[in-house]
Subunit: 321 residues, 2 copies
């Protein structure tokens, strides 16, 4: 649920008047997203999503995110496009918060992705990587390997409360990943959070990608294994190789992987699993007693980490050797 | 915030297929309403509001509410209109809950109503009363005078925790109101909950009335004083007679009050104040420790009750004697 900031109609009308979109006709707070306040806004011209950026988003990162969406949309990628104010700016202020309005994207996210959706995702992800190749700005991935040990230090002492032995398991994985983490793989802009709720479909057809607020500069193959973890495991934690193959094949039709990228997939997949295990573990241990929001289960990502630790060759992912 | 029930895209697509509205293009959970789950749905034909009725709404009342909205819309009142399924029904089922889809109404509610909005409200309320006059169904007002003592009995023992002396004040008011409550005033369908968040405007012009889920059969003047209490007091609890006059004048331009209704306004206004004082007191004392939702302050309505207890003549409301 996400409307953290209440906005009055006068404030909103004044904000909307900065754009060339006609008069405000209606707006509704949307129960989506967990970081920001979102409103679906209808003006005389069209429907838009208005986002008020709350504290967890770093204000200095907003130009990267907004310019990236503009760049990708201009390259033909289907994603929300920031609407430009009469002044030429895309970032404004509303109710004391940074705020931006983006175009409304039709489509729905798929709660139970099938192989056909993994295929759509693969094509969309590769298109994103290709479209972002000449984007001039960069943003360090603040949730990559260098950040994992400091992040874990905040949870280490209590990790075994969640599962006995978890602390040692994570420390071992950290040691290995810090030693083996691949450098110099092909990279550029990655989405870094392309879970099913950020990918819209109309029927079986991908209609667009949303929520670029974790986007950063990192290796493309890392983005791909984040998707592999988020889309290709079943609710019982079994790995669905048909979905993995659909994802990887569709990706490679648009952007073929280099041999070094393919070789790195298992270690990258372990890293991607550890990254979400660590953030979920941190959130799990930080939730106050009696909170209404149930944090996501960190152990789901422990099982994914262990799956990839057992992978010998990329044939486990459905790739030919 | 109101999305209590999660709906999958498959379930929703199947539900939408019962209507002649084209394919589903998108849907968003809306952070509005506190009783039901609401979604803004876009199909190939239009935008709609889809409501899933949660436990607090009595399923047997739904035909009254839906038929009423249809009746009022057919009479030209601007309100959400239930969309009719191919079977001719307006009430369906989705995710195990009764569900209905209504037309989307443009407009926004006004956080700080001005006299011009009270005037718009008065005209709209009278139009509602006139349009509902020949509606065939009836629904008893389950929150009228007969219900107040049983409702208060659940809070009486703890009332003085909220304010010392509150129990005695309420008991006195109850005794008086039960003795003096007017019978046989002109009546019919009333909205019974026409607070600012249920009245939409586009600029200064009323664009429609929403949320008919407290509608019932009762005296028209009682509906009017519910509005008087909800719209004509300032945040500091002072009574704004200009707003009251605007409300009453605009109402009477469409439906002139009879002398008996005018004479009854002070006692009805005390009753309307007590009704919301009692439900808010009940909610205030029922909220679990640490809940995220802040209940509305019951004492706001104690002050309104006391204002009306001091009213000698209806000139206090801006009416000529």
């Amino acid at each position: 649920m996400a409307v953290y900031t209440e906005v009055t109609d006068e404030e909103l009308s004044a904000f909307i008047a900065q754009y060339d979109v006609g008069q405000l006709l209606s707006y509704k707070g949307i129960a989506e997203g967990v970081e920001n306040s979102n409103f679906l806004v209808h003006t005389e011209k069209a429907y838009f999503i208005l986002t008020l950026y709350e504290k967890r988003v770093n204000r200095d990162d907003l130009p990267f995110f907004l310019n990236l969406m503009q760049h990708l949309a201009a390259k033909g990628l289907s994603c929300p496009t920031p609407v430009v104010m009469k002044t030429g700016a895309t970032l404004g202020e509303l109710a004391g918060r940074p705020a931006a309005m983006v175009t409304f994207l039709e489509g729905m996210w798929v709660k139970r992705p099938k192989p056909v959706h993994c295929s759509g995702l693969g094509g969309g992800l590769a298109a994103l990587h290709v479209a972002g190749a000449d984007f001039a700005m960069t943003r360090r991935n603040s949730l990559s390997v260098a950040s994992w040990r400091p992040l874990f230090s905040q949870s280490a002492a209590r990790a075994d409360e969640v599962k006995p032995g978890l602390r040692a398991t994570i420390e071992q994985a950290l040691d290995q990943l810090e030693a083996d983490w691949p450098q110099d793989l092909p990279g550029g802009v990655i989405h870094a959070d392309l879970f099913p709720d950020n990918v819209f479909f109309l029927g079986d057809r991908l209609s667009g990608l949303i929520d670029f607020y974790f986007a950063c500069t990192d290796s493309f193959a890392y983005d791909l294994v984040i998707c592999l973890n988020a889309w290709c495991f079943e609710p019982d934690q079994s790995f669905n190789v048909t979905k993995a193959q659909a994802l990887l094949d569709a990706y490679q039709k648009v952007r073929p992987l280099e041999p070094a990228e393919i070789a790195a997939l298992p270690v990258l997949a372990r890293g991607a699993a550890l990254r979400f295990l660590l953030t979920r573990l941190h959130d799990w241990l930080s939730v106050p007693e009696g909170a209404l929001v149930t944090p996501k289960d960190p152990l789901e990502y422990l099982k994914k980490l262990q799956f990839h630790q057992d992978v010998d060759t990329v044939s486990a992912y459905g790739l030919a050797l």
